[in-house]
Symmetry: C2
Subunit: 227 residues, 2 copies
DNA sequence: CGGTTGTAGATTGTCGACAATCGACTGAAT
DNA sequence: ATTCAGTCGATTGTCGACAATCTACAACCG
């Protein structure tokens, strides 16, 4: 049977899921900014759908913490305070440390080569001064660490945290850093895993994440006014 | 103005939230068993509501992982495999260790006394051979550890994990243990916190949780047949 | 003039009906 | 007998309309 590539590329998702994807990506990319209000009627007509699947999508966003609904008043994109960011990165650090611990314990066969492959693409992106690709690869690198741990509950919990990190990165450009150094910062993690040295790996990953987190938290400004 | 105590104690929750509470408590108590199918039409008429708020509640349960929906087919209560339970308890261990680390770091003033108060009630419940109260207090004890850490993101993530633990406990009675010893097992945790000894506290909490988790995982049976 | 009460507009919450999809069963053609 | 198209019943997915609630502002009373 010939491999028809498309044609069910469009429709096989429920409206609710497509709405969810749309909203989620708008929030994570910063297109919908923290504090911004989502009016169901407007959104529904704007997307060309009824309010029922839209509301279902909003409930999901709510329970993922990306938006916050106050009854009979409205739904707003969750604001990120400086404390939120510190919590985000500290929890992320714990989760990745745990993941690495598991990777080392079970002597995962392809872990090192998998991460090295991503690392090499990072170096290439850095040499091209391509921040967009580098950010994508950074996400892929850390996602891979979680995936390699083989802990599905950790992975789904990670997803929530990772989304918020992505949102933070979109809202706060850190491009005044040395791009090659940002890429290189991932090498010590690979080395520690290669050496099978858990204490070292833990220290390295925690320092790696904390440095980025601190950098963002320090420069974080929230507009406290609401007019 | 005289303090009218009640009268808005009843209705001020949306239908969706009341449905959510009802379903959640039914799942966590084991009244709705893993694998069981939820039919929207039946549930709605049974609860005396329309399907719209019911579906919104189901979406939330879905994103919390308590149920699983397959399109046009149905929603079933998520099954718990042995691997799920191992993951549950290993992640729980990481989260509580992290919480205790933070409690020690910030020298939380009331942590020890708060936990001691719960511990004493546990002893009382154990002496009364009251498993119901002891289980409630056990949950309160560990919830308190998370709360005392002052990490709101950890707390909300904990909530997901804690719910699943509660579900597991409902489905698997562990009452052939020595009730006084179960209560006493919490004392080393308090002692380690009192001594401000992080490595000891980490070891103790991990061992505490792992023992329960292993106990459950060992005796876990899932009916693989569906018929 | 200050404070309370009521009303209007906007927004979310809920409902009942209809459409789309799936799985099993049927039945005819080969 | 086997296979495949068609149909039926059940269930989820979506829609438009109506009800409940909140905020702001205006009107009324002291």
């Amino acid at each position: 049977m010939p491999q028809l590539p498309s044609l069910e590329h469009f429709n096989n998702k429920s409206l609710r899921e497509r709405i969810l994807d749309t909203l989620k990506s708008a929030i994570l990319s910063g297109e919908l900014k923290p504090g911004q209000t989502l009016v169901e009627t407007d959104l529904a007509s704007q997307l060309g759908v009824s309010r029922a699947p839209l509301r279902e999508a909003i409930q999901i966003l709510n329970s993922e913490g990306l938006v916050s609904t106050v009854p009979y008043h409205g739904t707003t994109v969750t604001k990120l305070t400086r404390t939120d960011i510190e919590e985000l990165y500290s929890l992320r650090s714990v989760m990745e440390s745990f993941a690495i611990q598991r990777i080392l314990e079970q002597h995962h066969p392809t872990a090192v080569t998998d991460l090295q492959a991503i690392y090499e693409r990072m170096i290439a992106a850095a040499n091209d001064n391509n921040w967009r690709d580098l950010n994508m690869l950074d996400r892929e690198f850390h996602d891979t660490i979680i995936t390699l741990s083989g802990h599905s509950l950790l992975a789904s919990t990670w997803n929530t945290v990772q989304m918020r990190v992505q949102q933070v990165m979109s809202l706060h450009n850190l491009r005044n850093r040395n791009i090659v150094q940002v890429a290189n910062n991932h090498l010590p993690i690979i080395n520690a895993i290669t050496a099978n040295d858990l204490p070292l790996a833990t220290r390295v990953i925690q320092q790696h994440i904390a440095s980025t987190g601190d950098l963002i938290a320090e420069g974080w400004h929230v507009d406290e006014d609401a007019s």
